[in-house]
């Protein structure tokens, strides 16, 4: 599924996403809040759901080529994090919901 459709289906709030991001394929999803776990296991092209909202998630996403980060549970990234996502070209979204309902909604469709 294209990231554009993914973001629409889950009504995600967009912090950073350009055309190139939105046209890219989301192949699977991964939920994780321990950076070294995500670093080791997140599949390439996955949408990464996390409660973390600080700067360091951008480096992990960039290093692992995820399709996007979705900050869940209504956590809000600060300006520094959004700026970093823009400069590192990492798609960044947010949702008030928890990873579990989000994954259930999108599950069979990916």
């Amino acid at each position: 599924m294209k990231l554009r459709q993914f973001a629409e289906e889950l009504s995600l709030k967009t912090y950073c996403a350009d055309e190139k991001h939105l046209e890219a394929e989301v192949t699977t999803a991964y939920s994780g809040d321990l950076l070294s776990d995500v670093m080791a296991h997140v599949p390439h092209g996955a949408a990464w759901f996390t409660v973390l909202a600080h700067l360091n998630i951008v480096a992990v996403a960039q290093l692992r080529d995820v399709a996007c980060i979705v900050i869940v549970n209504g956590s809000e990234p600060d300006k520094q994090t959004i700026d970093k996502a823009i400069s590192q070209k990492v798609a960044l979204f947010g949702s008030p919901e928890n990873s579990a309902p989000l994954c259930m909604k999108i599950g069979g469709k990916l």
Binding site: E19, L63, D65
Partner: protein
């Protein structure tokens, strides 16, 4: 150096094309309906210090009133008229997904103060308004971020001319703002050299976990990455305090990270074991006097690894 400047200029140019109008526009548009009077528009301009006010009916842009229109209205005595009759109706708009370069060209050509932004090409649904200042300040912010990024790389990585392929990064204790910069820089170098993605991924994991450990657990140190023809060697050295029980530290799940560090998502106790499993060769030494030193090797050419396996 010249190469760096060129890259910066190219980046700024790319940025102009990449930044979309919706990223820089102001979404809180002050507008009035076409049933408002010219005087109401004038008062609105005065209050908000605007020189133009869009006229919007049911969310759709119907026209625009500029300060000139107000002056003419005073002159000709129709300041109490409804704006519908006097507004400029064929307003130049820009769709929100257009790049700011298009907006910049319109500003240059027509000398408008602002351009109303519509939802999509061919619609009149007003979603924002953009000024030249908005574009400039966003661009400035981005250029700053890029300049900072390059500065860090410049000061952090000293390219060893004799070998042409050793990169050294200083790593500062507790500096979470720069965390990952060394690793992302290395990743870019490896990608430029067309190293297989799976191998780049493993090296990225090693560099990142090593970098974070030095930031979090040590007094600071450096990382040196050597890119050779058939392998990449990563050496991480810190100034202490050392690891008291190495065997324990290597166990998955062992951590001494405090609550604050854990709240940032670190401290699963998986960094060292992950580094080891991503490396083809891995060694760690630690002394409570001098600090910790890790050396990891990843082969970038498959058959070397096989040869190595046959030997052992």
């Amino acid at each position: 150096m010249a190469e760096l400047k060129d890259r910066q200029i190219r980046l700024v140019h790319e940025l102009m094309y990449q930044i979309k109008v919706h990223q820089v526009m102001n979404r809180n548009v002050v507008s009035l309906p076409s049933t408002a009077t010219m005087r109401e528009v004038q008062l609105c301009m005065k209050e908000k210090k605007f020189s133009g006010v869009p006229i919007v009916d049911n969310g759709n842009l119907a026209g625009i009133i500029s300060i000139d229109d107000i002056i003419t209205a005073f002159d000709h005595g129709y300041i109490e008229d409804q704006v519908g009759k006097h507004m400029t109706k064929n307003v130049m708009t820009i769709p929100q997904n257009y790049s700011v370069i298009t907006a910049t060209n319109i500003f240059k050509k027509y000398h408008f103060g602002r351009i109303p932004v519509v939802k999509a090409a061919g619609t009149q649904e007003l979603v924002g308004i953009v000024t030249y200042g908005d574009i400039l300040s966003h661009l400035l912010m981005q250029v700053n971020a890029i300049a900072e990024h390059f500065e860090t790389i410049e000061t952090l990585s000293k390219r060893d001319q004799s070998q042409g392929n050793v990169y050294r990064f200083e790593i500062v204790q507790d500096n979470f703002d720069l965390a990952g910069v060394a690793s992302t820089t290395i990743k870019k170098y490896l990608q430029d050299r067309k190293i297989l993605p799976d191998i780049v991924r493993r090296i990225a994991i090693i560099c990142y976990e090593a970098e974070m450990n030095v930031i979090i657990h040590s007094l600071g140190g450096y990382m040196e990455v050597q890119i050779q023809d058939d392998l990449v060697k990563i050496v991480i050295v810190d100034e202490g305090p050392g690891i008291p029980d190495l065997e324990k530290a290597m166990e998955p799940g062992f951590t001494t990270a405090n609550e604050k560090i854990r709240s940032l998502g670190f401290g699963a106790g998986l960094g060292l074991p992950n580094m080891k499993s991503c490396a083809d060769k891995f060694s760690i030494r630690s002394s409570m006097e001098t600090g910790t030193e890790i050396e990891a090797i990843v082969y970038t050419v498959e058959h070397h690894k096989d040869l190595d396996k046959k030997k052992t």
